[in-house]
């Protein structure tokens, strides 16, 4: 690609001289400044001083459900405080401040304050909490969930889960995490063309997540602690001129995990493997990333513009290694190093040239380069198989690197007053290290037609064809035991992709608008005998917005999506002897009505949404086993609301929300902690809920 890359750059540069020559003549035309001496703006109602709103009230949630409250904080039954606040102050001299608070009574609360002198400087401070309630049905016999060490009560270990004293030792643990983020920042505009800004974010994430640990053929689902701190900083300087714009920025990220490991006692006996009574998982290591970016834009001529983006980054990770095993009976050769000294260098670049060549023709050319250069040193490690025995062969780490070159060309031609045809070509080349394919190239050709031939119809039709080919597919010698030689990993495999899209919007009458969209894609991995062999997807949706009257509006939305794929496997490590099929079907329907019952007094509305998903899986072998039961979910949600204006500045708000959720998941249904003899599971349930929420609040405007 090197030659081609250089040629492409040359091609872009070759435009500069000619384009720049055309620039000055075009840019010069301007109007004389009007006489504004009589422009008093007497009728302008500038609003200085303080204004804002306060909303207080209460909500009642009928039932507890971590799925219902997954991200909104309404996960427990009972009462909640509704508190929202917003205040604005505008001074005569461009001084201002804003204060906003939302969801004060919920775990998803946020606060923000901003102030300064508009056009000169501003300072801000934000605080936000983001909860994630993952499960309220986890059961575990381990003691110390949420901490870095899990121990077991008396009665463990046992040879199988059925022989464990689970009825007397299982305890319920909620899986949930919460992010709390504090941000502070400042921006300064010393002159019209210059802007400087800095933004610092300090985020802590605490709570629990699920994980698992194994001792060869036995395993346990475990609750692991989350105690992360992430600091991120963005600093930038921008220059903006009519012809030239530039932004130079720095991004830094520092991640710290206060729990570098999780240790757990083995609940299973391990006959023949003395000392295999505890294991340790490495939790995510501390890491840093620093990146400098430059974004440049230059107006070569009135209708020709060049842009360039560059980003150079470095990520490092040097967390001290954990011991290879907690099993004191094993003699493990010394590690080649005490920490990884991991380093990844990134380079990203994007050069683009755009020209609205004539009133009818527009061209774009772009070159994109993405490089992840993993400079982590390679070493050979002796390792222990799940704290049971020293593995007979040493292994060398494989620091994966990726280099992507992309080139894009497109032309848009206005074939008629309201019809544009477009066509393009994309080249995409990916190089990988330590993988089966060193280089794969993809060529994409596409065409598009967009027309508003009739006043009331907007139509867009697009079709694209892609063909990806690899240079050669060779097993990676370091990966042992080897993969089936007939496998072609789907991210590198030869692939043809056909995709199409049709969008139409109709302004049926002055009050009714209708939108329709259909898109589909089909992937064929024709040279893949084992692995993913084909994938298909289509999506069909429509929406109607209907202004029934000046007081009433109606919105309808419906969507159906189908995602299907086929794969092959070989139990005999040869040619395919089984196949797997996945098919997800998802329906979504939404209806919303808004009605002004009493003008300037009472507004009422209702929103109903229904989502149903079905995941059908079949694994076909000579034994002709039946397909799996569907993985299914359905959610019905009805919201009713009313806003009543008591006075000019006081309104009452009331709302009722009912939501019903059902799900089936064969991986969880009927699976109790002792269902699988050699896996101690959480016995987690697929979520179901019926929740009613009633809310009332008063809103005061000042």
């Amino acid at each position: 690609m090197k030659t081609a890359t250089q040629l492409s750059l040359l091609a872009m540069l070759s435009t500069l001289s000619a384009a720049a020559a055309a620039a000055d003549g075009a840019a010069g035309a301007g109007r004389a400044a009007p006489d504004t001496s009589r422009w008093q703006c007497k009728l302008c109602k500038f609003e200085d001083g303080l204004s804002g709103t306060v909303e207080v009230g209460g909500a009642y949630v009928s039932d507890s459900s971590s799925k219902f409250g997954e991200y909104n904080g309404l996960n427990k039954d009972g009462g909640y405080f509704i508190g929202d606040f917003s205040a604005r102050f505008r001074g005569q001299d461009a001084g201002y401040w804003n204060l906003d608070a939302a969801n004060l009574g919920l775990d998803a609360r946020s606060l923000s304050a901003e102030g300064g002198r508009q056009g000169t400087y501003k300072l801000w401070l934000n605080y936000q909490e983001l909860p994630h309630f993952i499960s309220d049905s986890v059961q575990t016999p381990f003691i110390g969930s949420g901490g870095a060490s899990l121990t077991l009560p008396a009665g463990f270990p046992a040879s199988t889960t059925t022989l464990m004293p689970l009825p007397s030792t299982l305890r319920q643990v909620d899986l949930e995490t919460k992010r709390k983020e504090l941000g502070v920042g400042a921006a300064w505009t010393p002159a019209r063309a210059w802007d400087y800004g800095v933004n610092f974010r300090h985020q802590i994430r605490e709570g629990t997540l699920g994980t698992a640990g194994a001792f060869f053929v036995t395993a346990s689902q475990l609750v692991r602690p989350v105690d992360y701190v992430t600091d991120q900083i963005d600093a930038s300087a921008s220059f903006t001129d009519t012809r030239f714009q530039a932004k130079l920025a720095y991004y830094g990220s520092n991640f710290t995990n206060n729990d570098p490991s999780l240790t757990w006692q083995n609940p299973f006996t391990a006959p023949g493997f003395p000392g295999a009574d505890a294991g340790q998982l490495a939790l995510p290591p501390d890491n840093q990333f620093h990146q400098v970016t430059a974004n440049l834009g230059y107006q070569l001529a009135e209708r020709t513009r060049a842009t360039a983006d560059f980003a150079v980054g470095r990520g490092t990770q040097n967390q001290q290694f954990l011991t290879p095993t907690l099993n004191g009976t094993l003699a493990v050769p010394a590690l080649p190093r005490t920490s990884l000294d991991g380093r990844v260098d990134t380079v990203n670049a994007n050069l683009a040239l755009n020209s609205a060549v004539t009133d009818r023709l527009r061209l774009k050319a772009a070159y994109i380069y993405n490089d992840r250069d993993n400079q982590t040193p390679q070493s050979t490690y002796s390792w222990v198989t799940t704290d049971m025995f020293v593995a007979p062969s040493q292994r060398t780490n494989l620091p994966y690197s990726f280099t992507q070159d992309k080139a894009q060309l497109r032309a848009d031609y206005k074939a008629a007053e309201r019809t544009t045809t477009s066509a393009g070509y994309d080249y995409d080349s990916v190089k990988r290290t330590f993988q089966e394919v060193n280089k794969a190239n993809e060529n994409t050709f596409w065409g598009k037609l967009a027309s508003r031939y009739l006043d009331w119809v907007d139509l867009t039709l697009k079709y694209a064809y892609s063909d990806r080919n690899y240079s050669s597919y060779q097993p990676v010698p370091e990966i042992t035991p080897p993969e089936n030689p007939l496998l072609r990993k789907y991210n590198m495999a030869d692939r043809t992709r056909n995709s199409g899209e049709l969008r139409a919007s109709f302004a049926a009458t002055d009050t009714i608008s209708i939108g329709l969209q259909f898109d589909a894609s089909k992937d064929d991995y024709s040279n893949s005998t084992i692995g993913l062999t084909s994938a298909r997807e289509y999506n069909f949706g429509g929406d109607i917005t209907w202004m029934l009257s000046n007081q009433t509006s109606l919105h309808l939305f419906a969507n159906r999506q189908e995602i299907k794929s086929e794969q092959s496997g070989s139990q005999t490590f040869s040619t395919p002897d089984w196949s797997g099929e996945n098919k997800d079907t998802i329906h979504f329907v939404g209806v919303g009505v808004k009605h002004v019952a009493i003008k300037d007094k009472l507004e009422v509305g209702a929103d109903y949404t229904f989502t149903r998903s079905k995941g059908a899986i079949s694994v076909n072998t000579a034994a002709n086993e039946p397909a799996f039961p569907d993985i299914s979910t359905s959610r019905n949600s009805l919201k009713l609301y009313a806003n009543y204006r008591l006075k000019d500045n006081v309104s009452l708000r009331a709302g009722y929300w009912y939501e019903r959720y059902d799900s089936d998941d064969w991986a969880l249904d009927g699976v109790t902690p002792d269902t699988i003899p050699n896996v101690l599971t959480f016995g987690q349930l697929a979520p179901q809920y019926r929740v009613h929420v009633i809310a009332m609040s008063v809103r005061y405007k000042f």
């Binding site: 204004s51 714009q245 983006d309 290694f321 020209s355 080139a407 797997g580 064969w666």
Partner: protein, 319 residues
Amino acid sequence: MRIRKSLSAVLLVLSGLAFSVVAAAQGAAASEAPAAGQGTEYSENGADTCLVCHTEAWPYPIFPIFKTKHANRADKRTPFAGLQCEACHGPGAKHAATASKDAINSFKATSFLSVGQRNQFCLNCHQGSARIGWVGSKHEINNVACTSCHKLHVERDPVLAKATQPEGCYKCHSKVLADFNKPSVHPVRFGIMTCSGCHSTHGSSTPAMLVKPTVNQTCYTCHAEKRGPFLWEHAPVAEDCTLCHVPHGSARAVLLTKTPPLLCQQCHTVAGHPSVAYTSSGLPGRGGGGAAFLLAGGCVNCHSQVHGSNHPSGIKLMR
């Protein structure tokens, strides 16, 4: 391969030449008169001319603009510190005299001005910073007007507020609305995450207009624990999160494209347990084997460190 490379290069060179030719021709094109309609004369009294008709009782409420940044006269960059209404709507004398809708830049879709011409009024001030890449971005090329997303005459632009921003995006990206209603999602539907948290709506070099140069760099802004580099990397994880996860919503748990073991068996085929066909006979009560590889977490019952491991014995992603 070489032929393909050369072809690509030749195409690129030709495109460069085409650019040269057309850019040279541009002087003539640029000098063409703008579309008929708006005059070149400004009104007599500025906003006071406009507000005589466009009163507070006007069907489209315009007065809230006086609560916005654009109407802060002490900031000399703003429209109301300059040509007031006509700073954005263009010279208004003809419109004031004729009341013709076609004699002023209304910023509406029915305007006599093209989307590009309408947008230029905004870009005259807002060309820099995040909008450096606006020209040539997907939104710009597909004729998205600034006012398709932004409202200027309201106290708070809904697309700049966390809770209301997605509604603005769904107007065109309706499939994403359906995605965010799937059972496993990023929390956009809950109002605590915005589209612009991941997407740079004013232009970016990534296919989906992401805020960072690659998918993974974008994901790491919230999931920094997965950045590594790890001692034992899982190759597809280091390459592209979307090889296993979908970004908006999925019918499968934790935004996965598929569920284990079939998800993993698309790439893991070594002799032994990874290549076994795990059928429904392994479900509870069916009497078959393989439950440990199928139920609860499936493959991750043992290989829990799918995002990479920094444990010296973590080669199999089990420590």
